[in-house]
């Protein structure tokens, strides 16, 4: 089917950072940050024209350094945050900064420059104040999902820092922090902010553990010790079920947790043959789970058994009213089948990032280290199956 064919876009540099432009709900737009030590790094703003299957790109220069992580503000299209490396004095320091850009033509702020390549408008607030030794390297920045884009957490070594952004995101004030104490060098690898509970919870991963934090008091609320056999690489919250959390890691597994009972995972997937670097729930249909791995594959799974959607939608049944009555038993009789929907093998290198579009729930992008960005759609048959 022509419509289901993947669209591939190549970057010139290695790349690890990918995010949808969260605040944008009309256009399908992804931001990709590159990694190059020798040249100026770039942020590619990639617009995908769904009608014509055409990709339009805008390249912004990111001179600060190579980008390890990128995240877009949920409220303001023009604001994004990157974590980048600076090489100075023979040392590598990873910093994080909120930066403004002016990618969208309709964004209303920024330049209307005709060049495809231009510098970022304003370097925004630096999220690692003070000497680098104070907080160490920043691994990740997470925005408050539902707020006005004014609150951000960043993870630096063993610290979790909460920031308030002020004056158009140009200044950041440290609003709270907590740190992890323990034996050895503890280091956060990643973190997500939960969209539930009025945005008062966040989760972080360090080594094999996953921890939950209350952002009001900056205290730990739960901890999944040894969530994975090896390093945890990524986390995501189920957007519709408030206690559900997905994690993935170097043991090639994806695990689904109920944070109220952290002793056992609710479900475990083992579809990849190498480390799983990224896991993402679909924003609207949380049975669709996307994972990317360094075996070069992207796997789209249907986790119907633990999704928020009533399973009846997935059953072919002619008589709907009849089915309504039957649903309780039906659920107990034959639990919905979890299955792999598709495995995408367009990448030839490790896939470090995957994400869903914020505008079209049936569309997702994946990024491999060799700079290849692939945009794919959920198979049409499944889409209709879920919708109808």
């Amino acid at each position: 089917m022509e419509d289901d064919a993947p669209v591939i876009y190549g970057l010139e540099f290695q790349a690890r950072a990918l995010t949808p432009q969260t605040a944008e709900t009309d256009a399908i737009r992804f931001l990709v940050g590159t990694q190059s030590l020798k040249y100026d790094n770039q942020i590619h703003v990639i617009d995908f024209d769904d009608e014509n299957n055409i990709i339009n790109k805008n390249v912004l220069l990111h001179q600060a350094g190579e980008i390890w992580n990128i995240s877009a503000s949920p409220a303001d299209k023009g604001v994004l945050a990157t974590c980048y490396n600076k090489t100075a004095d023979g040392k590598v320091v990873t910093c994080a900064a909120g930066v403004e850009d002016a990618s969208g033509a309709g964004a209303g702020r920024g330049h209307e420059s005709p060049e495809t390549q231009r510098a970022l408008h304003t370097p925004g607030a630096a999220l690692s104040p003070g000497p680098p030794s104070a907080h160490g390297s920043t691994a990740c920045v997470a925005w408050e999902p539902a707020g006005d884009g004014k609150r951000v957490i960043s993870l630096a070594d063993n610290h979790i820092l909460l920031w308030d952004l002020q004056e158009g995101s140009s200044q950041a004030v440290l609003a709270g922090s907590a740190s992890l104490e323990g034996k050895g060098q503890l280091k956060f690898t990643t973190g997500r902010w939960s969209p539930h509970h009025n945005c008062t919870q966040a989760a972080t991963a360090n080594d094999t553990a996953v921890r939950g934090w209350d952002t009001r008091t900056m205290s730990q609320i739960y901890c999944i010790e040894s969530a994975h056999g090896q390093l945890v690489r990524d986390l995501d919250f189920n957007p519709n079920k408030q206690y559900y959390l997905a994690s993935c890691g170097d043991d090639c597994r994806v695990k689904f947790w109920d944070t109220r009972n952290v002793t056992e995972p609710v479900k475990t997937l083992e579809e990849h043959s190498h480390w799983v670097w990224s896991v993402r729930y679909n924003h609207s249909h949380d049975q669709l789970v996307l994972t990317g791995s360094s075996d070069g594959r992207v796997v789209l799974s249907n986790m119907a058994s633990i999704s928020s959607e009533p399973f009846g939608h997935l059953v072919d049944d002619d008589d709907l009213s009849d089915q309504e009555e039957r649903r309780p038993e039906e659920k107990s009789q034959e639990p919905p089948q979890d299955s792999v929907i598709a495995t995408y093998e367009e990448h030839e290198d490790s896939v470090y990032a995957v994400d869903w579009s914020s505008a079209d729930p049936w569309l997702f992008a994946s990024l491999s280290y060799d700079g290849r960005l692939v945009i794919n759609r959920v198979p049409r048959a499944l889409k209709y199956h879920i919708l109808l």
Partner: protein
Amino acid sequence: MAAAAVGRGPGSGPGDSPEGPEAEAPERRRKAHGMLKLYYGLSEVEAAGRPAGPDPLDPIDLNGAHFDPEVYLDKLRRECPLAQLMDSETDMVRQIRALDSDMQTLVYENYNKFISATDTIRKMKNDFRKMEDEMDRLATNMAVITDFSARISATLQDRHERITKLAGVHALLRKLQFLFELPSRLTKCVELGAYGQAVRYQGRARAVLQQYQHLPSFRAIQDDCQVITARLAQQLRQRFREGGSGAPEQAECVELLLALGEPAEELCEEFLAHGRGRLEEELRSLEAELGPSPPAPDVLEFTDRGGSGFVGVLCQVAAAYQELFAAQGPAGAEKLAAFARELGSRYFALVERRLAQEQGGSDNSLLVRALDRFHRRLRAPGALLAAAGLAEAATGIVERVARERLGQHLQALQSAFLGCLTDVRQALAAPRVAGKEGPGLAELLANVASSTLSHIKASLASVHLFTAKEVSFSNKPYFRGEFCSQGVRESLIVGFIRSMCQTAQNFCDSPGEKGGATPPALLLLLSRLCLDYETATISYILTLTDEQFLVQDQSPVTPVSTLCAEARETARRLLTHYVKVQGLVISQMLRKSVETRDWLSTLEPRNVRAVMKRVVEDTTAIDVQVGLLYEEGVRKAQSSDSSKRTFSVYSSSRQQGRYAPSYTPSAPMDTNLLSNIQKLFSERIDVFSPVEFNKVSVLTGIIKISLKTLLECVRLRTFGRFGLQQVQVDCHFLQLYLWRFVADEELVHLLLDEVVASAALRCPDPVPMEPSVVEVICERG
């Protein structure tokens, strides 16, 4: 016959009158001949086959009864040529002559016989005349004797009649005397305790007394007798109730009472009540043996005691009852059956309690013998009292026990297997004393395999006792069918193999999370064990089972192939897990070494880093370990070269073609393009791919995992110039030593190339080291 026919032929013309009776004789003779022929087995067919025989009415048959010479002659004249006529004429003449001479001979021979016969007749005539005179004399004498005899009997007639009358009177008087003496006799008998005699007397007199009771004297006797009989009955009952004197006497009492005409209904109740008392006593004593604090005798003794005590008494009671109350009909039998059922069930409850105590024990032969006794004992009452269902219940108990026993054997096997594994773990974990090697893996494997197998065999042997021919219940349908197929084969053997696989698989699942609590060597060993099971042991065990227990049941059983597939799958999973665990160990080492180093400010490499040596050492150790249990496996042919040559290929042409260009600071596209093009031609490397059952495949898996980790870690770091050079040195070192372990050395090349290429990309100032220097450093280190 031809002689007879021809002899008559000339004498009697056609149409002669005497032909009729004479003609029948040959017919009859022929018939008799037919019978004889039949008798001697000459078949009719044979006779019919002869051309001359069959039709006696044929007028041209010379020997036939209806032979007509005219017709014959006509026929001859008409049909035969002259020569044949002449022939037949001479033939005929010859025959006639032969017949004539035969006749003459016959006449001469018989002549002498006629003469001697005439003499004999003449002599006989003389003798008879003498005999006639003597007979006359005899007749007169007899007449005289008859006369005398008549006279004697007439004289004795009178006396004879008197004697007869006297004899009749005498008998009557004796009877009367018996009647008059009866009361005293009865009393005496009662006093002496000869109850049987008394009852017999009473029985004899009863009818007479009944008949003549209208006469006052007899009436008195009858009354007396009745009084005494009542007393007798009372005494008998007393004796019966007192009991204790054994079943036969009891039975006698009851018999006598019945003879006295006591009501049978009541007696049979009482009889059963009494029997119940005795049986309950037996049960009590059995229960006491069970006791709360068991210094219980062994189970064999128990069932023996139960068998001889309870079952014996039950048999006696039942037999006596059936003998005594046979007249009671089905109602009585029903009563007895209910009685036996009730007590039997209590007995069974006790036996089951006792057997339950035995379940912990391990001596199967004792148990089987006990069950055998138990079952055998119950066959007698079972036959006696089919309605009570005792035999069925006993079989039921035996079956239950057998089933439980199977369950126990399964458990015992499982725990023995776990015990073996614990031993292995201990042996593996035991610190190696210097100079004294612990038992090798192969040896441990052999130990586990042999001890498991011997346990299985022991279990089979001990379960086999249940089906031994001499055991009384072995021919029950359960033991012939279901026990063998479902019980022994399915639940015991198949169940054990399954649980073994399950146990082994559990090692794959849980501990991987906690970072390999299971020693990898154990995984390897189990994997090999499962593989051995797949190839040989399973089919061996199942064949053994099928042979020992000739399975007659038609119910479906798990085929060998299914089990083998399961075992193979387990072996595969274990081995894959082993690869993962070992790969992880090396990965961790590599990761730590990459993560903890400051690659930007590192010094110019002088040595291969120690961790790489460690990696090679560990890989060699793993190689040795796997080599103990698994075969070598196949490599790609190209790897048969020495390391020297591969090295040169690697360092010169490969390096030039591969990542040298990426160091030249040309367009950044080139690097990507090159590596992409490179990838187009190389296959995708599946890092955690399933392994095959050989050493090379296992090590390939481990090395793949390790190198991929190295690649990913390198990509997360930034390198200075010397950092890159160090990576170069390290990779070359690995290349030098690792190729020999893998199936396809190209794979190691590819991965290591990619590591170096990635490191070059992650280096702001990539200046590679001279290949010759790299070589020198590696050779030195």
